[in-house]
Amino acid sequence: MPDQPKYLDSKLFSRLGRVGYKARRPMEGRLSGIHRSPHRGASIEFAEHKEYTPGDEIRHIDWKAAAKSDKYYIKQFEKESNLKVYFVIDASESMRYGSGARTKYETAGYLTAALSYLFLVQADAVGLIVHGAETQTYVPPRAAFSHLYPLCTALEEVEPQGTVGVAAGLERLSELARRREVAFVLSDLFDDADSVFQLLRRLRARRLSVTLFHVLDPDELTFPFHKVTRFEGMESAQRVLAEPRMIRDAYLQELGRFLSETKHRCLENDISYQLVDCAVPVEVVVNRFLTGRGGG
């Protein structure tokens, strides 16, 4: 029996709650699903009345209303559709950093796998874009549950390296995605944040529902170092000798400024923002995300 991809973690999936993801806005899917569609459809949920025009089906005429108003109205019902979800993962060198059990890339991978599992359970189509310096992995969205396997395999095959990160993935997404789809972006945003948000704004303009998972390592969040250290950049040749105790406050201040700025830009662009601490279990992050957005 071939080895299972490490991201295909059944224990993780089992720990996920029963809260599913339901799009807040109408979604355009080709299949029927649990999500609202902008089109009127065949669901049982009444949407609105429409004056009869020739060509409308007669069976939809609301006869009670015609008796009251002496006019013919057509009863229209909501159409329910499935989602097309894209995961865009940052596979730059900085995502290899990890002080605990998982690197940031692995955390992003497990998070993607968990959410993909949930989406595929509710028959939504899940696609994957992972852009690194040398790898450009694209898994087209499919709604079949069996699609989880290739997704996880693709995640595992990617080795984060180089400086090309999430911005390239977002460009790729902007070419692929249509209106009213869902995009999850998982990155530490240590690339050029301006270009990332520029692309995100472009996606939002096409009414994509975008959620940003800002993945950071506990080291990056707390800067727990003590000894005099020569820090070397992972995506650049920068290096600096510092005494962490002396610069911790300033670092945390800078980080806080960066996080609040990122949150603020997300808010401005109606992008859902989730800060992911790699030390926090993935299921907790997923449950917090799903419950935090109101459960559907």
């Binding site: 950071l216 020569r230 600096v240 300033a250």
Partner: protein, 703 residues
């Protein structure tokens, strides 16, 4: 700024430790790849200046801490005119070294250096605080301490100072410093030890002075110079030596005056000699350059007998003491000649010593008195030679070895010996008188039979004369005073010692040869001194020839009493027989009387009260007689203090191992009226250390 314990300054090298730690920490830094380096850089951008500044400040604080700590341990101090209220008033134990040697009599025309030094010390004492201990040491030889223990009672010093007089002794700065150091060694430990030297600080003061404080910590030494430049120009008569000039006449003396020039100009002024009311002036052959010494020789004639006092003088300058130098001319005593007659005859004119005795027989008016004594060779073994100046061995046969040893001893001590030839003088002399003979004897050479008619024609005459020898100075080279016909003589063979020929026969054979044997000299006449082999004894030149031989050989075996001694030296007075009391008159008129109990059987009185320079008169009163024997002696100052040129204090400090690079320190010359006080700087350094420690702690903790 100076340091009491400068060795601790090496501790400042510890300042390299924080630098080394700093560099080591930089190299030891852990390497870590970190994704969020941008924030570190951004945070450092904000912090970088502050951090760098703080790191630099911490590093500087640590370096300063160690450096200032080392400086504090080295106990820095300085001297200032104005004392601060903190740390300046250190109690001290001070020994004042007061130079009262005779060179301090130097004056600029108004005030002597001694008075200046006294005033300066009075002023220093007025400024002394109640908690300071003081002592006083005089620097004249030998150094003495009138206040030899440290005391708080300054008035005692004032009293001692008021009574101090100029000493006739030389400076003994080394002894004074040693004494001062010894006094300070008993000072309480909390007191700062200090020596203040009040002197003219001339070269002679510090000449040969080395650090007397061994390996222990040196006290602080302050030089208080009180000599103005005008009081440093000095010419000095160093010595006056009087030597008889017997080759000229017994009344003539060579007076050799040694002059030293300690001024900045060349000296070419007259030097005066005054004796018996006469004054002789003379100049040096060439101007005497500054810093040099030269001699001027005067030939003087003393008419009167006995001790005559003379004075050598040079023009007046800053120091008067060494401008006049008394000297004593002591007339030569009579010459005692011992004639050993080797061939006595009953017929006088045939006697070997007849013509010599006649020649040396003194005239009544003769100034040179010759005492003659004639003995036989066998009496020589028992004859006392103590008072004999010259001995003539006249045709003496070879003597026993024991007698010869006596004669050799006599000559070696300065006696003069004349050996004349004759039938008794044989080659046996070569072995018997080998220590004395100028040449070995070969045998008799008969030139002609004196009884033959042609004897006068064939006889040898005197030929070549060493006219430079004192013996022949009385003979004019042109006139043949040394005439004589010699028919026989002794042939000489081998030269011994430094022998030389003084007179030759006309055939070139030596007639008179000389050899110096230690202090004495030997003449060997190769023909007879009577008429046996030569008729020289009846020639006109014979008498002066024999006289000159007696004078030259009678230079003296006895050591005469000295004519002069240095101040504070003992002078031996030989007491004549039948003397019952002796009176010594000092130059200041003070009289000291001595009786026979003072000299006892030794007949030698040691006179010690020679503190004053000048001429001392000694009167010896004979018992039962009103006659008095009068003699004189001169007491002179030492000449070493005459050099008043300023000493190189920097070089003195090195020799005393003072200065900032060693223990102790010195002050530059302090202008009068502005005494400098010691200000301890180490309390400030300690305060700085504490403050830096606080600052360093605050900086290091604020991370």
């Amino acid at each position: 700024m100076s340091f009491e314990l400068p060795l601790y300054l090496w501790g400042a090298l510890a300042a390299a430790i924080p630098v080394a730690i700093h560099l080591f920490n930089r190299r030891r830094a852990e390497r870590k790849r970190f994704a969020a380096i941008e924030f570190i850089l951004r945070s450092r951008k904000n912090l970088i200046r502050r951090m760098k500044l703080r790191q630099l400040l911490v590093l500087l604080a640590r370096i300063a801490l160690l450096v200032i700590l080392a400086i504090a341990l080295a106990k820095p101090f300085t001297h200032t005119d104005r004392l601060t209220s903190f740390g300046g008033m250190t109690s001290s134990a001070t020994v004042y070294v007061f130079d009262n040697s005779w060179s301090m009599a130097a004056t600029d025309g108004t005030t002597s250096n001694l008075e200046r030094a006294r005033e300066r010390l009075q002023e220093l004492l007025r400024r002394t605080r109640g908690d300071e201990m003081v002592a006083l040491v005089f620097a004249s030889r030998p150094a003495s301490a009138p206040i030899g223990r440290l005391t708080y009672d300054v008035s005692r010093l004032r009293e001692s100072l008021a009574s101090v007089v100029l000493s006739t002794k030389e400076t003994d700065m080394l002894g004074a410093l040693r004494l001062a150091d010894s006094i300070l060694s008993k000072a309480p430990a909390h007191l700062q030890r200090e020596i203040v030297v009040l002197s003219d600080h001339s070269r002679h003061v510090w000449s040969g002075v080395e650090a007397p404080w061994g390996l222990g910590a040196a006290p602080i030494v302050r030089f208080e110079s009180i000599a103005p430049t005008s009081s440093r120009e000095n010419l000095a008569i160093r010595t006056v030596a009087v030597e008889p000039a017997p080759d000229v006449s017994p009344q003539h003396f060579n007076v050799v005056v040694t002059i030293a020039n300690y001024t900045k100009r060349a000296f070419f002024k007259p030097i005066e000699i005054e004796i018996e009311g006469r004054t002789v002036k003379g100049y040096l052959d060439q101007p005497l350059a500054p810093g040099k010494a030269a001699q001027k020789r005067f030939l003087i004639k003393v008419e009167s007998k006995g001790d005559r006092v003379g004075y050598a003088r040079i023009p007046a300058d800053a120091l008067a003491f060494d401008n006049e130098y008394p000297f004593l001319v002591r007339q030569n005593r009579s010459i005692s000649v011992l004639l050993v007659n080797g061939a006595p005859r009953t017929v006088p004119y045939l006697d070997e010593s007849y013509f010599v005795s006649l020649a040396l027989q003194p005239r009544a008016d003769a100034r040179t008195k010759v005492r003659l004594q004639t003995i036989r060779p066998d009496e020589l073994a028992t004859q006392s030679l103590t008072d004999v100046d010259a001995m003539f061995l006249l045709n003496v046969a070879a003597l026993p070895r024991s007698v010869v040893r006596r004669v050799v001893g006599f000559v070696e001590k300065g006696g003069g010996l004349l050996i004349t030839s004759g039938s008794n003088v044989t080659p046996d002399y070569n072995s018997v008188f080998r220590e004395l003979l100028p040449y070995t004897v070969r045998g008799v050479k008969i030139v002609v039979d004196p009884r033959s008619p042609e004897a006068k024609l064939r006889a040898l005459l005197f030929g070549k004369v060493d006219s430079r020898h004192p013996l022949f100075r009385a003979f004019s080279p042109g006139r043949r005073l040394l005439a004589g016909h010699t028919s026989q003589f002794l042939l000489l063979e081998r030269r011994l010692g430094d022998a030389k020929v003084l007179l030759s026969f006309d055939n070139g054979s030596p007639a008179l040869v000389e050899r110096r044997v230690k202090a004495g000299r030997v003449f060997f006449f190769t023909t007879t001194i009577d008429r046996d082999w030569s008729d020289f004894a009846i020639q006109s030149g014979f008498l002066p020839f024999v006289h000159q031989i007696a004078r030259v050989l009678g230079g003296g075996t006895r050591v005469p009493p000295p004519t002069s001694v240095r101040v504070h030296s003992e002078y031996p007075i030989e007491i004549d027989k039948n003397v019952e009391s002796v009176v010594v008159h000092a130059p200041n008129g003070r009289v000291k009387q001595f009786s026979s109990s003072h000299w006892g059987r030794s007949r030698r009185l040691v006179y010690r009260d020679t503190a004053l320079p000048g001429v001392y008169l000694v009167e010896q009163s004979l018992s039962g007689s009103r006659r008095r024997l009068v003699s004189r002696f001169v007491v002179t100052l030492g000449h070493s203090d005459s050099d008043l040129r300023p000493a190189e204090l920097s070089e003195v400090k090195k020799r005393l191992r003072l200065g900032s690079s060693s223990r102790g320190t010195t002050l530059a010359r302090t202008p009068p009226g502005q005494p400098k006080q010691r200000l301890n700087l180490w309390p400030f350094a300690i305060l700085a250390v504490v403050l830096i420690l606080f600052a360093e702690t605050a900086l290091a903790a604020k991370r």
